[in-house]
Symmetry: C2
Subunit: 111 residues, 2 copies
DNA sequence: CTATTATGCATAAGAAAATTATGTATATAT
DNA sequence: ATATATACATAATTTTCTTATGCATAATAG
């Protein structure tokens, strides 16, 4: 992941949220999707993405299906049942995190 | 910093924002303030805080003044001029980050 | 009166998560 | 023919944090 180092620690949550929404995606597609929805502000690096996907798979949160499209390899990932449950938790944590950060940035709005 | 690892990378920004607001604070005070405004959800560990303060000082973003209060040592930190300028940038980055994360969590709201 | 908790600093060892730099391979556009 | 896009992967290093200590004084509880 690139840019303002604030994104450190949020990659797994981003991956899981996108997979919840899109049902299945492959690695490169994830990088492009994130770039698109953040208008180019967040570029996930391959060195961060692929190890993250492998780890989530090893933890039983993702399943993988390999397919060949246009003679190129694609590894489609989707959430397992366990992964779907865990995504709910992660998103709740993310919303709490965002709320807390907003309170810190703009304390007056929290009254 | 404890909890959901989403906070990774946000400690420096938190410190700088609080110092911008409070003018000067000492380490322990920062941990208590953060605990207070996040209602106990975010606990900054000493092992993260003190090295972070030292690094910000080494980078010329913070100045330190040592004082003895009630026979106990306190190191008061405040933003340097450079630190104040940098804080503006960091907060802008934080707001962008929050906005991007919200778009990822709730893509429908972004239209 | 003594032991725990709170205040206040610090650092070292290790883990986690990223960046940076490669490497392989095919397809498309210049 | 060469660069860019697509698509995966991993190794070395760096950054950032947790965990575990360590020291010292003050206040509170048993």
């Amino acid at each position: 992941m690139k840019n303002s180092q604030l994104y450190k620690g949020s990659l797994n949550t981003i991956i899981m949220k996108l997979l919840e929404e899109q049902h299945r995606m492959y690695g490169y597609e994830i990088t492009q999707k994130v770039k698109e929805i953040t208008k180019g502000e967040l570029n996930i690096t391959e060195g961060a993405l692929y190890p993250a996907l492998h780890k989530l798979e090893a933890e039983g949160l993702l399943d993988v299906e390999v397919e060949k499209v246009d003679n190129r390899l694609r590894k489609y990932y989707k959430l397992t049942e366990k992964g779907t449950t865990e995504t709910v938790n992660r998103l709740a944590e993310l919303e709490e995190f965002i709320k807390n950060m907003q309170t810190i940035v703009n304390p007056k709005l929290s009254y």
